[in-house]
Amino acid sequence: MGTDMAGSTRTEREAAAWLARRDASGWTGRDQARLDAWLGESTAHRVAWVRLEAAWRESGRLRALGAGLPAGDIPARGQWTRPGPPADVASGPAPPAARAGSSGVAARGPFDAGALVFAPRPREAASRMPAFAAAAVVVVLAASLALGLRFYPAAQPVAYRTAVGDLESMPLADGTQATLSSDSRIVVSLSRRERHVDLQRGEAFFHAAKDPGRPFVVAAAGHRAVAVGTRFAVRRESDGVRVVVTEGLVRLESDPGPDGRRQPTTLLPAGSVALASDRGVVVRTDSVAQAEQLLSWRDGFLAFHDTPLAVAVAEFNRYNARKIVIGDPSVAAMRIGGNFRWSNTEAFVRLLEQGFAVRAERRGDEVVLHDR
């Protein structure tokens, strides 16, 4: 199979020329036939083509880098490899006040009306709210309405909230499907530049509608999960947020740490489970099926696999007003597995009583688990 020495480079150039022509407009069936003929001439042509075509296809993933950047702005070199969200560099005009501190929402770009209103004290704000029985409540901010209509035509922040034990699925105006877990609250602001969701409480799953020009950003506790079009869930933990990605790619950014140091940006492919806190970001990459398990709450289930009982109980308590309390440390460390319907605390407790050395003491709004 003797190709001469200059041959391989020439072949590669020809393959690249074919690819660039196919990438242009006006590619016809006849062009394809000619390409096929060229590919059939030799295996050398074929491998050169396969290699370049694969590289070109991979390069489509660069789109993830463009999420959140204004169209037409080609970012400077070198910002991908160093820590820090690229948008910091590229979207210069963002008001510096909006990103000060770890308020939980870092507003980017020109639009942050909703964020400014809701951001500073999410917990107090939530507790002052009357306890709505209804699952989803639309809050219209009268004050910002008049201004909003004028300056932010597409951007009226809308709040959704679920009570303990409720689960609510709702379409957002951009076509995204959002599923709100028990005792959760989001504020959604759609602008021309960005789709911004402030996760103020609990957990939410998003099947974000594809819109390369308008990144989908979920902010919580000083972290931001940025997606172009993908399936992922974000939830608040006691000391940070958890992000689970089941499809596509999400970019996770964080506010500067307590020492003022910039946090690196993390890219999360499907199957990732990321835990972000002040101390940094820990990522576990599982199979997508394993990641999906963490989201089985959407179907009414909690899935455990060799899970410490303390963790499982905390999960249950997210969904139920009647809380399970661990009475003995030895009970906390027991490991359990299986799928449980989260709405049925009683069945779960009875299973524990049958299968483990656990005694349940039922008193009022609590079930206390003791060592038997």
Partner: protein
Amino acid sequence: MDDSLDAWFAREILVHEGALVAFLQRAWPQRAEVHDLRQETYVRVYEAAGKARPAAPRAFLFATARHLVTDRLRRGRVVSIETVGDLDALNVLMDEMTPERRLDARQVLRRLAGAFDRLPDRCREVVWLRRVEDLPQKEVAARLGISEKTVEKQVAKGVRLIAEHFYGNGTARRAEPARAAEAEDGNGHGRQHPD
């Protein structure tokens, strides 16, 4: 998972290009010929895999490269005891040269970003508008005020350089971006040192 031969080849073979090129550069004294040896290796692997997919693709790739180099040495185009000696040592070293086996999506993106950043300015602009902002070539041309033909040329150039850096991880032809094979390398003997 796409199980066609082409997809298999990209997934199981091309990902080792960095290690393959490093191997060839050390095993073959004429640096300018490495590009051709790489292609020849790919041709042999692709043809063999068309008949039966090797169970251990990476090992098969390197065995193929080694045979190819040995064949060429035997054919007397280059006679160098030193080189042959190196070759034996390389059998052992092969696995150490690229410890990573398969890239996860994050590493893929990092590597792509690195490849992208190494494109010349004009080429980089074209690739960004075409691939990230997804503008058709025609609109890229209008945006940059250049002809469509130029855009097409830049795309062709861009894809070659991206492949080189993405698959080769920048191991190959660091110093000579385009005219590698034409230039007869005068001082290509012995070990290659990174420039």
